[in-house]
Symmetry: C2
Subunit: 460 residues, 2 copies
């Protein structure tokens, strides 16, 4: 505060001393110290500008003045818990509801995606009276203990982890690298049948399905876009369970064509619970669970009050409302569609010439570029992906890699990202890939079949 | 926003429609709509002023200008995740550490008391390799599923609840109404021996203790002040477990003599983990887990990153730092000692004449006034406590009742509370109690022995 800036080395030393070593830092060898941000740009302590392609939390642009003003003026007026009546909470709930199918009408405001997903699980358990949960391979749903249990992305990191017997992991509906691929006649049904199997097996052991939880598009799992109408086929409702759509990363217009990613599954597909987070407050700790009246009443019938100290306070709600207003006013959903579409098409143009580019997939400003060493074997190009993001960083572009093999470059920039930004980042990636391929002696002769997924004998 | 205020009835209607029915409201028959607050005062939609005796979250006073400015200016500059280096997080951690015993040096910033306690449990499980947790009767530690399991205050509200077999409930060290009372020669040891028993029984069944979690003074449990040195005697470390001090309600100078309530147990008593929340950000969603290097390293050794999207962002940390600075600058801890002491002494003066006053207990600005129908049988005066808070509300004073019988009036006001505020609220309570006692035909003849706890034949 008070204007004094620490030397970067002092910041690093203090961080080592006082911040939990499990809290990782970007580019750990040479971390960046960011002191300011605006729109799609971040600035380091030397006022060097970075183009931000990764911070989906700063959804309407870093430090958007309307959001900042809404927060600042409400902070000066009143910030208290939701046991008092206040207009902000009801106006925010009402506006949020207007973006959703009518049935999804009851909101619970919380402070993080993790709080939202944990509450969704509690509701599912209470509503169904069942205990078992189905989750997807490589899924991440949050950091509290109940969610580590349903997050293979996390528990696979642990040296010793006992899987919760009430949790069942279904294959990720990844048509590039998953069990059923683009060459399968009906991957949606094939993935859904896997779930049917899981349900049968669980029931044979006396389990009963409370919920199926899934992101509408898998983020940490590798920017996975499921085949159309998969969600509708999950069989979970037939088993007495409910469907929880985790929109923490992919909601709020990011997919371009729709406000919510679950709507990509068809307008008639309505989850029982939707959880929201990250972009909802443009960085402010705010999240939400929205459900049906039916589920909400069942949850209440347990007799237990739900009280969350900070959840739904007037400041958080003022900020959430401002974010919704800015998305609308600046047509950021439309921008995501246009700019995201442009990004994918530009990447596609470069695909042919780069043996490292395995797959390009995206919806709006949610785009994955999967790098492989071999387009037939799909050998993950993990080190190469790291190399790309480190070199981009040197050129002041922030991108990251994710997925089970950390070989998927993921684009999820602030939604004010422009076509010029796309031109810049694609040009740099093109150059870096060319250099890496050159160093590795990779040629596009290898590129005989770029329809990833068809397993053919490889030339390498 | 935008200055338009809804009619109160519209706010109520929208709340019914769009906010989860499990989210309760104060004074549900005639809820208050609060639109503004300053210091220890809140204002309703008609600009009527209420004296706030309950909002311990607004620790340094509602909308403290220095806290608001710190938050607002940081919001305009940068708000992003803690994977980038930033001064605010390390400066805040350093300042927080300076209030704690040296061993407690590693911080994890999160967004709520619940996130903090869940993380503390995860650390305890990982560090000890054990699974069992001991908690206190009537304890409340948060709303996520892992914490409902260790919160008898919550799970007792449920019509059907299966207790987690890894959780063990020890008697609350309440020397007024608990198992061992003021007339016991050594209640601290007696309560500790109960824990020893629990540990034995758990171990006999093959359990192993990971942690004992307790508030240093029980809040929701009824403003309970344990006998001196109880915590030191809990036997938990001998069983291989660790001690988690939940300071979510009682930390940050509220107890007056010390900055942390666990320090009331003796300067040499150091918990393994301290969790903080509520007052830490004066209403901003912010919380923290502080632990030793040893526990932090063990937690890291699981191989799992800890990532919390909003935790430790520059805005939250700017606010946390400002709160610490204001506590210091305005000597709010000293104020809590002086004003809290004055409150207790003034209440004591009225004790004799009120048959309804069973017990007065407090440390600093954490004070409980337990109402009973019978000073010998200790029959909880639940309805009378409700009556008191409703009548106070009519006179524009906000107080609430808690504890397992909802008969403990609890004072936990913003720390800028003054002696004049005390005079006002005690006068009103004195009058209301007199009226209620008159209506009920209670006389102070019943008041033959006001040393609560000694069970004698009652006259009523
Ligand atoms: C899909 C998804 N769900 C939930 C979460 C948890 O959100 P938070 O970190 O706010 O608890 C995340 C965070 O990365 C996420 O990606
Ligand atoms: C002692 C204690 N611990 C933890 C919590 C949970 O805090 P939060 O509501 O911020 O999750 C509370 C909340 O009332 C509390 O009183």
């Amino acid at each position: 505060m008070s204007g004094v800036e620490l030397e970067k080395s002092t910041t690093i030393d203090l961080r080592k001393k006082h911040i939990g070593p499990s809290c990782k830092i970007f580019f750990s060898h040479e971390p960046i110290k960011i002191v300011q941000a605006k729109g799609q740009y971040m600035y380091d302590e030397n006022r060097q500008r970075y183009l931000d392609c990764i911070n989906n939390v700063a959804h309407v642009g870093h430090c958007h003045p309307e959001v900042v003003n809404a927060g600042a003026s409400q902070m000066a007026l009143l910030n208290t818990n939701s046991r008092f009546l206040h207009d902000n909470i009801v106006l925010f709930a009402q506006k949020l509801q207007s973006t959703l199918p009518e049935k999804l009408s009851v909101c619970y405001f919380v402070n993080s995606g993790s709080e939202a997903n944990d509450l969704a699980l509690r509701m599912a358990w209470q509503y169904t009276g069942h205990k078992d949960v189905i989750t997807l391979q490589n899924a991440y749903h949050g950091h509290v203990s109940s969610l580590i249990d349903i997050s293979p992305y996390k528990f696979h990191q642990m040296s010793s982890y006992e899987m919760n017997p009430r949790v069942h992991v279904a294959p990720s509906p990844d048509v590039y690298r998953g069990k059923y691929r683009r060459d399968h006649p009906d991957p949606a049904t094939a993935y859904a049948d896997e779930v049917k199997d899981i349900i049968h097996k669980a029931e044979e052991k006396g389990g009963k399905i409370a919920a199926f939880i899934a992101e509408s598009l898998q983020s940490c799992g590798g920017q996975v876009i499921p085949p159309w109408a998969t969600s509708k086929k999950w069989h979970v409702r037939k088993a007495g369970g409910i469907f929880i759509a985790d929109e923490v990363q992919v909601g709020f217009g990011r997919v371009g064509t729709h406000f919510w990613a679950f709507q990509l599954q068809g307008e008639d597909f309505v989850p029982d619970i939707v959880t929201m987070g990250k972009p909802i407050g443009n960085g402010h700790p705010l999240s939400c669970v929205v459900t049906t009246r039916e589920v909400a009443e069942a949850f209440m019938s347990s007799g237990m009050e739900y009280f969350n100290t900070f959840g739904g306070n007037p400041v958080s709600c003022a900020i959430g409302l401002a974010v919704l207003e800015v998305i609308e006013k600046e047509d950021l959903q439309g921008n995501a569609l246009r700019v995201g579409g442009y990004l994918c098409s530009l990447l596609e143009k470069h695909k042919e010439k780069h043996p490292l580019i395995g797959d390009i997939r995206g919806r709006g400003l949610f785009v994955g570029l999967e790098l492989v060493r071999d387009k037939h074997k799909l050998t993950p190009a993990t080190a190469e992906a790291q190399e790309v993001i480190y070199r981009l960083k040197e050129q002041h572009i922030l991108l990251s890699a994710d997925g089970p093999h950390r070989n998927v470059l993921k684009f999820k920039p602030p939604m004010c990202f422009t076509k010029e930004d796309v031109d810049l980042v694609v040009e740099k990636i093109d150059n870096i890939l060319t250099e890496i391929e050159h160093t590795l002696g990779m040629t596009n002769k290898q590129n005989v079949d770029n329809e990833g997924g068809k397993r053919k004998a490889s030339e390498t």
